[in-house]
């Protein structure tokens, strides 16, 4: 047997959300990743975010590329359709799926090898097109499935498990996403559930291209001294700009009301993001400032986390293409076929 069935037993008193679903309704198959993998923590955060938001699991389409990270959609939202595509090409498949049916929630899951190397172009173009999606990169700076090669996000000077020093510059995907026009940009750490879950919730509620870079240490190949993507390194160098809470239109989930330190950002669907600011000068609406802030702290070896930028008035690809509100995959022949009278006119114009 090459897949693992999950036990059906669960506690009858598990907490339920507004839909009456428990966490179990948001789970998938048992992970086959290494014990302790940061990706499993991200899976748990996605499950919690979807539970908190009372999302119907089947209304989510989860799409990934190839690699350890791209296996993870099998481990959450078992009642959703998932699509493990080809290496680096998740963004285009997600774009097409989104065009076909704008009514679903699109969750793109990728890795640093998948998105920063072979798929760098597709990552960039899906962002610049403003596809309405939550694009999560589970970033460990290493190729895990092929046993430890550097990825394009590995920091210059960091060391591989074998002791090799990386001589190439790193791609900062958050910086790139900001430059390309992503309208919701965040970075988090797989080991910081309290920060990550609300960031994912905010991204799902965001009506535009939301990008989240999650530093997710590879327990097998990149969690050692010399790595800048290890648990210890990230904990020591984490510079969080804010903590985030998501407030739905109905009831707050949680909020830390420290007077004068909370900034509320309203999104298109009425959801409010409550940002508990750590850096008093940080403005999440200023794209240029975010880029400068990121660069400044990167130069100091700090990993900036939190919601770095959000545009509450974002448009998405459907708005730009002026497509009908109805999902394109539901249109029928009567909606689409111009009929024989139109064809006669066309014939006449060609004589």
């Amino acid at each position: 047997m090459t897949y693992i069935a999950k036990p059906k037993f669960h506690h009858r008193d598990l907490p339920k959300n507004e839909l009456g679903y428990t966490h179990r309704d948001y789970e998938g198959k048992i992970s086959t990743l290494c014990a302790g993998c940061g990706h499993d923590s991200i899976t748990a955060a996605i499950i919690e975010a979807c539970f908190d938001l009372s999302i119907e699991p089947h209304r989510v389409a989860k799409i990934s590329g190839i690699g350890c990270s791209s296996k993870t959609p099998d481990y959450f939202l078992g009642n959703s359709h998932g699509f493990n595509t080809v290496h680096g090409r998740m963004p285009s498949v997600l774009t097409g799926a989104n065009l076909a049916n704008r009514e679903l929630i699109y969750l793109g899951v990728s890795g640093d090898g998948d998105s920063a190397s072979i798929g760098f172009g597709q990552f960039a173009h899906s962002i610049r097109r403003g596809v309405n999606m939550t694009y999560i990169v589970e970033n460990n700076g290493v190729y895990g499935l092929t046993k430890g090669q550097f990825s394009a996000t590995a920091d210059r000077g960091s060391k591989s498990k074998r002791g090799v020093t990386n001589s190439d510059n790193a791609i900062d995907m958050v910086a790139i996403a900001l430059q390309l026009g992503a309208t919701y940009v965040a970075r988090s750490f797989s080991g910081d559930k309290h920060q990550l879950v609300p960031i994912i919730e905010g991204a799902i509620r965001h009506q535009g291209a939301a990008f989240i870079d999650v530093i997710s240490p590879c327990i097998a190949f990149n969690n050692h001294t010399g790595s800048t993507k290890s648990f210890d390194y990230v904990r020591e160098h984490n510079e969080a700009v804010n903590r985030l809470d998501v407030i739905t239109g109905r009831a707050p989930i949680s909020i830390d009301q420290a007077p004068g330190t909370v900034q509320v950002v309203e999104q298109h669907d009425g959801t409010k993001l409550a940002l508990r600011k750590i850096d008093a000068d940080y403005d999440v609406h200023d794209r240029l400032a975010a880029m400068a802030f990121l660069q400044k702290h990167a130069a100091k070896g700090q990993v900036v986390t939190g919601l770095l930028y959000v545009d509450p008035e974002a448009d998405d690809l459907h708005a730009n293409l002026n497509t009908v509100e109805k999902a394109l995959n539901t249109l029928e022949a009567k909606d689409l076929c111009p009929g024989s009278s139109a064809l006669e006119k066309i014939n006449a114009s060609l004589r």
Binding site: H58, L317, T323, V324, L343
Partner: protein, 615 residues
């Protein structure tokens, strides 16, 4: 004085225009072709152009053909030589007794010249320079002036051309009057200074009927609209870009909600071919009818995704407008050279249906049909156009659409079906035809979801690398391909007037040249039964046709006899029984070429073998 009698022909000749790319001659040359159609005389034009924007030689050939032969004929009866760069080659290509039309503002080169052609000089530059001061106007109107002169030389009705100009510039009065003025400048000069008409003449007839004059790419794009395509993702590449452009323009006219003005389609210019097919795959997976238009190099880039569509069983349509390869090859020259690469695209054991339209009419019909097939078969389906059909205007039957037609969305299990308790296994062969049911994402809260992947899985879409499970799936995919044989368009057979032991197989844009070649071969005493293949996988009648003949010619526009290879491979046929007739210089195949190649081979069969020398 010509040593050979000038060609004398009414409504049956070839005029070729030699121009410089970017000189603005295309619209005047096309107007020449259209005006002959308006005389009731069929034409078959071909644009022969370089893969650059400006400066290199370009030719536009108009075959005037009252008999309605729509293939290229070969040879030039009248050369309109407007490009000094190609002068020698152009002059050499004129048939004996033919005509050379040139700009006589400057004297002809003093070199040795042909005596078997009639030379007609019109001082085009002098006329334009004396009339227009603006350099661009001089260049553009020179083309209309030679059109006017030709109308006099060929005895064409100027009112027909005036009417065409009127239609083209109906909202631009200034352009209309200035073009008509230029037309008459050339026409009047010719009438006053030359002997008009010459031996080549256009005489009004009634041979066009209700046929339309349209490019294959335009027709295929319209077929995509009628076939219900809602998502198009593409990346610019010659010769397919005009297909995506035409789809955009048809959608703008035909596919907007009248109340909201919103689009019932989405078109994305991808960052490359890989992204384009990726978007198509995503849309197809999610239940939309989606396609991309590309050419051979694009197909090469798309192959990994094409393999995924085969194995993960996702509908996708690729309209491949073939050009001469390999590599960059000759980007603006035609071939049928992607047959193998499309049929077996991607790694591993893969096969994909191919449809071969013969003209724009079939391009329209088959383009629409591709979407039904892709969804029925849950597979990539290729529409195999080529540059000759795609980028040239052809006369063809008018488009027709059956109002009662419903789209075949294939085997899609709905929420109601799931609630009924139907067993949903994504890769279960419930009907024995190899085609499983699928569900669209978002169908049901608790039933029918599955995980799509390119890695092996069992009948219920559960990841599995068990050898037996993998083989079971691959065998089912073969059963599905067998089913496809009866779903794709069948071959069309036409028998010779007399019983014959010989047959010929051909496909796609070769069709009009073959129709004409058969007549030429019959005149030489060779009878051939014909089979026009319209799709891969091959219907059983292909093998029967081959079995019914001693041997069969396979006419193709590529070097390696790709369709022949496919027939041999798929049907287990002795290759000796299939004689390849191959044309692959990048120009469209001609009736003359086919008739000569087959005729010579047939003639050899009549030679009595010499007796063996007995030692």
């Amino acid at each position: 004085m010509s040593a050979t009698a000038p060609i004398s022909s009414v409504n049956d000749f070839v005029v070729r225009f030699a121009n410089v790319n970017g000189s603005g001659s295309a619209s005047a040359n096309e107007m020449f072709a259209r005006s002959i159609i308006r005389h009731g005389v069929p034409v078959s034009p071909r644009n022969i152009f370089p893969s650059n924007i400006q400066g290199l030689p370009t030719w536009y050939e108009v075959r005037v053909t009252e008999d309605g032969h729509l293939g290229a004929r070969g040879g030039v009866d009248m050369m309109v030589a407007m490009n000094p760069q190609t002068w020698d080659k152009d002059v050499a290509s004129i048939e004996p007794g033919g005509y050379l039309f040139y700009d006589s503002t400057k004297p002809m080169p003093a070199s040795k010249f042909r005596e078997d052609i009639t030379v007609i000089g019109v001082p085009l530059t002098a006329i334009t320079n004396s009339t227009y001061t603006d350099p661009r106007q001089r260049q553009l109107f020179k083309n209309i002036i030679y059109l006017g002169a030709l109308s006099a030389l060929l005895d064409m009705d100027p009112k027909v051309i005036e009417q065409l100009i009127g239609e083209q510039y109906k909202t631009k009065e200034k352009l209309l009057s200035s073009n008509v003025h230029a037309l008459h400048l050339g026409r009047d000069w010719a009438l006053q200074n030359l002997k008009c008409p010459i031996g080549l003449r256009v005489q009004k007839a009634d041979k066009v009927g209700d046929r339309i004059f349209v490019e294959g790419n335009n027709a295929a794009a319209l077929g995509a609209v009628y076939g219900g395509a809602t998502v198009c993702a593409w990346y610019p590449i010659t010769p397919s870009s005009s297909l995506a452009d035409a789809f955009t323009s048809h959608c703008k006219r035909l596919r907007h909600d009248p109340e909201t003005k919103k689009a019932k389609y989405a078109i994305v210019q991808g960052e490359d071919e890989i992204a384009s097919i990726g978007i198509v795959v995503g849309a197809g997976w999610n239940g939309a009818r989606a396609f991309t238009a590309t050419s051979g190099p694009g197909v090469s880039l798309m192959t990994e995704f094409i393999g995924l569509t085969y194995f993960a069983e996702i509908p996708a349509v690729i309209m491949n407008v073939q050009r001469a390869g390999p590599s960059t090859g000759m980007p603006t020259r035609t071939q049928q050279c992607d047959v193998i690469s499309c049929a077996y695209a991607s790694h591993g054991d893969t096969k994909h249906p191919l449809l071969f339209p013969e003209d724009p009419h079939e391009a329209f019909e088959m383009a629409a049909q591709c979407f039904d097939l892709a969804e029925r078969l849950q597979s990539t389906v290729f529409l195999m156009l080529d540059l000759d059909i795609g980028m040239n205007h052809r006369l063809c039957r008018p488009f027709k659409w059956d109002e009662s037609k419903q789209y075949d969305r294939g085997k899609v299990m709905t929420a109601a079906m799931l609630d009924e308790g139907r067993d949903f296994g994504r890769y279960l062969d419930v009907d024995g035809d190899g085609i499983p049911f699928r569900t669209y994402p978002g169908t049901h809260p608790t039933k029918g979801s599955y995980f799509t992947r390119g890695t092996s899985r069992d009948r219920y879409a559960r990841y599995s690398e068990e050898g037996a499970v993998y083989q079971d799936n691959m065998q089912r995919l073969l059963r599905k391909f067998e089913t496809a044989k009866d779903l794709v368009p069948r071959p069309l057979q036409a028998n010779a007037q007399k019983p014959t032991k010989y047959g010929v197989i051909y496909y796609g844009s070769t069709s009009p040249a073959m129709d004409e070649a058969v007549g030429m071969l019959e005149a030489r005493g060779h009878q051939l039964d014909r089979l026009r293949i319209r799709a891969f996988p091959f219907h059983s009648s292909v093998a029967s046709f081959i079995a019914d003949h001693d041997f069969v010619y396979v006419v193709e526009q590529n070097r390696d006899a790709q369709l022949r290879q496919l027939i041999v491979n798929e049907n287990g046929i002795d290759p000796v029984r299939l004689v390849p007739i191959l044309h692959y210089d990048g120009t469209p195949i001609t009736a003359r070429f086919i008739a000569k190649a087959i005729g010579d081979h047939q003639d050899q069969l009549k030679v009595t073998p010499l007796r063996k020398v007995v030692s």
